[in-house]
C-alpha cells in the first residue's frame, strides 16, 4: 500500500493521536512554565542558590528520556502521569535558566529608571523585569515545547498515547507506512511549533527593545 493511501485510510486515527500529542504537550508546557518561571524569578532573589538550582536541572536534562521513564515507572506506574512528570522535569532547565538570565541581564539603567520612579519590588517585577525579560523567557518556552513534542513521542511506549504509538507499532510490525504515519506528522508538528514560537517571540518583544 502506498503511504498516501495509508494516510487516507487511517486519517481519523492520525488526527486523534495528533490531538492527544498536542494535549500532552500543551499541559506539560503550561505547568512547566508556571513552575520554571517561578523558580527562575526566585533564584534572581537568592543568587547564591542560582548555580546549584540550574546545575541540578541541567543534570536532570542530561538523563535520557527512556531512562527517566524507566526510573519513574516503579514509583508512579505507567500512563500519562509519569509522562507528564518527565516532560515537566525536562523543561525546567530551559525555563529556569532563561528566566534567570533574562532578568539578571537587564540593562542597569532600566533598573535605575524603575527604582527612580519609586516602584515597589512587586511592581518592578511585573512592570519592568518580566516584560523586558519576556523575549528570553519565550525562547525558553519554545525550547521546552519543541523538546516536549519529541519526548512525548517516546512516552507513547509507556501508554501516554500520541503519535509515537504509530511509530512504535510500525517498528514492531515492520510496517513502513505506519511508521511514517507517525513520524511525518510529529516532525511537522515540531517544526510548526518551533516556527510559531519564532513569530510569537517577535510579536511579544516590547517595541522599545526591537532592533
Amino acid at each position: 500500500m502506498s503511504i498516501l493511501a495509508y494516510f487516507v485510510k487511517s486519517a481519523n486515527l492520525i488526527l486523534k493521536l495528533t490531538l492527544e500529542h498536542i494535549t500532552i504537550t500543551v499541559i506539560a508546557v503550561s505547568v512547566s512554565t508556571v513552575i520554571g518561571v517561578a523558580i527562575g524569578i526566585l533564584i534572581t532573589r537568592y543568587r547564591r542558590a542560582a548555580m546549584s538550582v540550574i546545575g541540578v536541572s541541567g543534570i536532570i536534562y542530561t538523563i535520557p528520556s527512556l531512562a527517566l521513564f524507566g526510573m519513574l515507572i516503579p514509583f508512579i506506574g505507567i500512563g500519562i502521569k509519569p509522562a507528564l512528570i518527565a516532560l515537566i522535569l525536562y523543561s525546567q532547565l530551559a525555563l529556569i535558566r532563561n528566566t534567570y538570565v533574562g532578568i539578571t541581564t537587564i540593562d542597569p539603567s532600566i533598573r535605575e529608571a524603575g527604582r527612580g520612579m519609586g516602584m515597589s519590588p512587586w511592581q518592578f517585577l511585573r512592570m519592568v523585569e518580566l516584560p523586558v525579560a519576556l523575549p528570553v523567557i519565550m525562547a525558553g518556552i519554545r525550547t521546552a515545547a519543541v523538546m516536549n513534542i519529541g519526548t512525548a513521542t517516546i512516552a507513547a511506549y509507556i501508554g501516554a498515547g500520541g503519535l509515537g504509538w504509530l511509530i512504535f507499532r510500525g517498528i514492531a510490525s515492520v510496517h513502513t507506512e505506519q511508521i511514517l504515519a507517525g513520524a511525518l506528522p510529529v516532525t511537522m508538528l515540531a517544526i510548526g511549533v518551533d516556527y510559531f514560537f519564532v513569530l510569537l517571540e517577535r510579536a511579544l518583544t516590547p517595541s522599545g527593545l526591537r532592533r
Binding site: T62, A67, I171, V186
Partner: protein
Amino acid sequence: MEFLLYCYERRAVILLAGLRHVEVSLIAVLLSVLIAVPLGILITRYRRMAHVVVNSANIGQTVPSLAILGMVIPVLGIGLKPAVFALVLRGVLPIINNTYSGIVNVDRSVIEAGRGMGMKGREILTMVELPLAFPVIMAGIRTATVLSISVATLAALIGAGGLGDLIFQGIVMADRDLLLSGSIPTALLAIGADLLLGGVERRLRKGAVQEAF
C-alpha cells in the same frame, strides 16, 4: 538492597549491554565529529552557504529522535548500521553549529595578527582559528555525546542492542528490577559523559585564554 543483589547476579548482562551502549554511542560521536567539523569549517569559507546550512541544522534539531529513527528504517532497515546512521544524523547538527560559530567569533584582530606574521589560509586555520574555536567545538561534541547516549537507548528498538534493551524489556514485562537495571546505568552514563566532557571543555577554555595572552 534486593535490587543491588539483582544487579550483582545479572552483572554480566548489564555490563555487556553497557559496553555495547558505549560502543554504539562512541562510533556515532566519532563519525559525527569527522563529518561535522570539516563541514563547519567549510561553511565559514562560503558564508552564503552557511546561512542555509545553519538554518537547516536548526530545523533538523527540532525533529523528534524517534521520528528520525522511524524514517531511517524504511531506507536502511534495522540493525547496527541504521542505528548508528540515526545517531550521526542527530549528532552532526550541534557540532556543525558550534564549529561554525566558534570560528566565526574568533576575534578579527587575532586573525589579522596571524596574517601580519605571514600566515597563509591553512596556517591561520590550524594555528589560529581552530585552537581558539576548540572550546566551543568541544561544547558541541559534548552535546552530541549526550544526545547519542540518549538516542542509543531508543536504537535498541531496531536491534542495535545496548542498555535500552533492558529498559524496553522491563517496561513490557513490568519487571521493576530489570527496568531499573537498564535505566539507572543509562542515566549514570549520560551524566558521567556530560560531567567528563564539561571538565575537558572548562580546561580548554582556560587554556585558550592563557595561550591568547
